[in-house]
């Protein structure tokens, strides 16, 4: 170990309480609030969804946020601003290092695809304001608007073929977003992030309020539907869903991903607090701002307008489809749609930037703390890494597959990271000591039962979420990574289409599936020989081979993403281990109470 004196970077602090609240709220408020929430809520019981949603908010969201804020502020007292440093300082064990690496990998990996969505929002805002969409819609006519938007999105986002995004303006827009994000980050926490969020958050909330007023005052009547029908579709409860565990899982997931807990962002941001800065109120304020954007703004704009103008069936569960296929079509029918559409996507762009910069800061802090890099060097290193990652995700753009799979693995890691942080807070640091630490400088104290909630209830809830989430999503995703299974499915789909063409009466999915199994002679996958197939079915053999090859290629992309994320994690873990054993350990040795060999917790 080097014995040379350490040159520690100057530690920044937040300039104001409002600044840190808006910065953390900005990191949480993003596309998920305005697009994912309404899509999830409306497809899971409407108003009834709010019951499991608010219970998850109380039991899962708020306690984990308080844990992260406390851990982060405590880590800041040890001179650490990055997940690996903070969690190593508090746990001094392998769990801390493993979870610390997760809190670096998740935001950086999410940034790699999030920046492309940020660029897409910017593009749409520009298209609305410049009249590009108006021209497109005029050419398409009222009946062809939905298809025209779908075609535009698929072309712009390169969804038809891998590498297609490289040919268009998206590449330059992504580059522009990189420049904006890294410029803000380069300016630092106070002059960059805080200053930007103090401007951007009120601006985006103001824009959203204007769009909200526009939607709620719509007087259009479309096929007998008014905006009141749209609100009814969104908020009328279907109480039967409360018995469905999947709805509870989705509510918990929505809260979890929306508040950005487990990400490592709160950990990083709160480490720039002062020792006696209030984390209870600050955390609650950031969470409530997020809820304002989600429940009030997100819950009353997109779905009511979609139901009014496009009718039922226009509110898919998919965030991407709802946001980039449905919303532009809605805006076409809305009076003043060009202006409000431009404003809507402009506010989504701002929301995306405030989130993006929060995803970069943990890695910047790690490079500075762990390796003593200056701001310029750390920004350059991170820009290169994220640009390579974003470039790969942009290249594998067919069906947004790379983005989708990266998002899936990041969600999985987020649950693990949150579980790790709650475990460190409740069991390593000690829930009672942890809550005492949370209460330090607090405007109001946490209730006495909170240590029990954090020690038992929240981890149990998280474990349940992890198990259910894996059970619901895992099998499909694992199948999606198997070229053999996906290839067989691809070929089978071609045969199924041919069989349906031959037997048009088979409208029911089940009846068609039975017929396919009967003709192909196997319950799943493909027959080993084509000899027993009817001649008309053998005629589509070449097409089936193409379908098989296409699906196998997609499965290989899914594998590539999995291996990439895994290697990225292992690499970050190795690098953070080196940093923890080296510079971070030396830093801790110089902090009173930070002796790396001392026992921690109780």
């Amino acid at each position: 170990m080097s014995t040379e004196p350490l040159e520690l970077p100057k530690k920044e602090k937040w300039g104001s309480k409002l600044g840190v609240v808006l910065a953390v709220a900005g990191s949480a408020v993003g596309l998920g609030n305005f697009l994912r929430f309404p899509g999830t809520a409306v497809n899971n019981g409407g108003g009834a969804f709010m019951v499991p949603y608010f219970i998850s908010f109380l039991v899962l969201g708020i306690p984990i946020a308080w844990c992260e804020w406390t851990i982060g502020r405590l880590g800041g007292r040890y001179g650490q601003n990055s997940g690996p440093g903070i969690l190593y300082a508090l746990s001094r064990n392998m769990l801390g290092k493993a979870v610390g690496a997760l809190t670096l990998v998740i935001p950086v990996a999410v940034y790699m695809y999030y920046v492309t969505l940020e660029a897409l929002c910017l593009r749409y805002s520009f298209e609305f304001f410049s009249g590009g969409f108006a021209e497109l819609f005029a050419q398409a006519g009222d009946g062809g608007v939905t298809q025209a938007v779908a075609d535009f999105t698929m072309d712009t986002f390169g969804m038809r073929a891998n590498g297609a995004m490289y040919g268009g303006a998206m590449l330059w827009l992504v580059l522009g977003c990189f420049l904006v994000n890294f410029f803000i980050i380069y300016r630092g926490v106070t002059k960059g992030i805080e200053k930007f969020c103090l401007l951007a958050m009120p601006l985006l909330i103001g824009c959203a309020l204007i769009v909200l007023v526009r939607v709620l005052t719509l007087t259009n009547v479309v096929d007998g539907r008014t905006i009141n029908h749209g609100l009814g579709f969104m908020w009328n409860p279907d109480w039967t869903v409360l018995w469905n565990p999947e709805v509870w899982l989705r509510a918990a997931g929505q809260i979890f991903f929306s508040l950005s807990v487990g990400f490592g962002l709160i950990l990083c941001y709160s480490s720039y607090l002062r020792e006696n800065d209030d984390v209870v109120l600050t955390s609650l304020s950031a969470s409530s701002t997020n809820e304002f954007c989600e429940v009030i703004l997100g819950g009353m704009i997109v779905v009511p307008a979609a139901i009014l103008f496009l009718g039922p069936g226009s509110t898919p569960d998919s965030t991407f489809t709802l946001g980039f296929f449905t919303v532009p079509a809605i805006m076409n029918f809305m009076p003043g749609g060009a202006f409000f559409g431009g404003m809507w996507f402009g506010l989504l762009f701002l929301a995306a930037v405030t989130s993006s910069i929060s995803m970069l800061q943990p890695a910047i802090a790690f490079l500075e703390d762990g390796f003593g890099l200056r701001r310029k060097a750390s920004v350059t290193v991170l820009a290169v890494i994220t640009f390579i990652g974003a470039g790969l995700i942009m290249y594998f753009s067919e069906n947004v597959q790379a983005l989708d799979f990266t998002d899936f693995w990041c969600e999985f890691m987020m649950i693990l990271a949150a579980l790790g942080q709650v475990t460190i807070f409740g069991w390593v640091l000690g829930a009672t000591r942890g809550v005492e630490e949370t209460n330090r400088g607090a405007d109001f104290k946490l209730p006495r039962f909170m240590p029990y909630v954090i020690r038992y209830v929240t981890p149990a809830f998280l474990i349940a979420v992890l198990i259910m989430w894996s059970a619901y999503n895992g099998p499909d995703r694992l199948r999606g990574m198997s070229p053999a299974i996906k290839g067989a499915e691809g070929a089978r789909a071609v045969y199924a289409q041919a069989i349906q063409d031959q037997f048009p009466d088979l409208e029911e999915e089940e009846a068609l599936a039975t017929k396919v199994t009967e003709l192909l002679g196997v319950a799943e996958g493909m027959p080993k020989t084509l000899d027993n197939l009817p001649t008309w079915l053998r005629a589509v053999d070449d097409e089936a081979r193409e379908g098989r090859a296409l699906e196998m290629k997609r499965a290989n992309v899914a594998r590539f993403v999995f291996v990439g994320v895994l290697l990225f994690y292992l690499g970050v873990f190795a690098v953070s281990d080196i940093a923890c054993r080296g510079r971070i350990k030396q830093m801790l040795a110089r902090v009173p109470g930070g002796d790396p060999n001392a026992e921690v917790g109780r």
Partner: protein, 62 residues
């Protein structure tokens, strides 16, 4: 479930919907108002306590 919901007849906002919407919006607005009122109200400057973990970063030396 999703398919059933999507095919369901679109109804106007009913009493239960209005109540749920009002409660949810009210709860969130109350929480926001409470938090921001506490944050934005004039705070007394806190006394400076010398923290046991004050870090000497030696930045002042350079």
């Amino acid at each position: 479930m999703s398919a059933n919901l999507l095919l369901a007849e679109v109804q106007e906002l009913g009493t239960a919907g209005v109540m749920l919407m009002t409660i949810c919006v009210g709860l969130v607005l109350f929480l926001c108002a409470f938090c921001f009122w506490r944050i934005l109200r004039e705070q007394k400057p806190s006394e400076h306590h010398h923290a046991p973990l004050d870090i000497d970063t030696r930045d002042a030396d350079s």
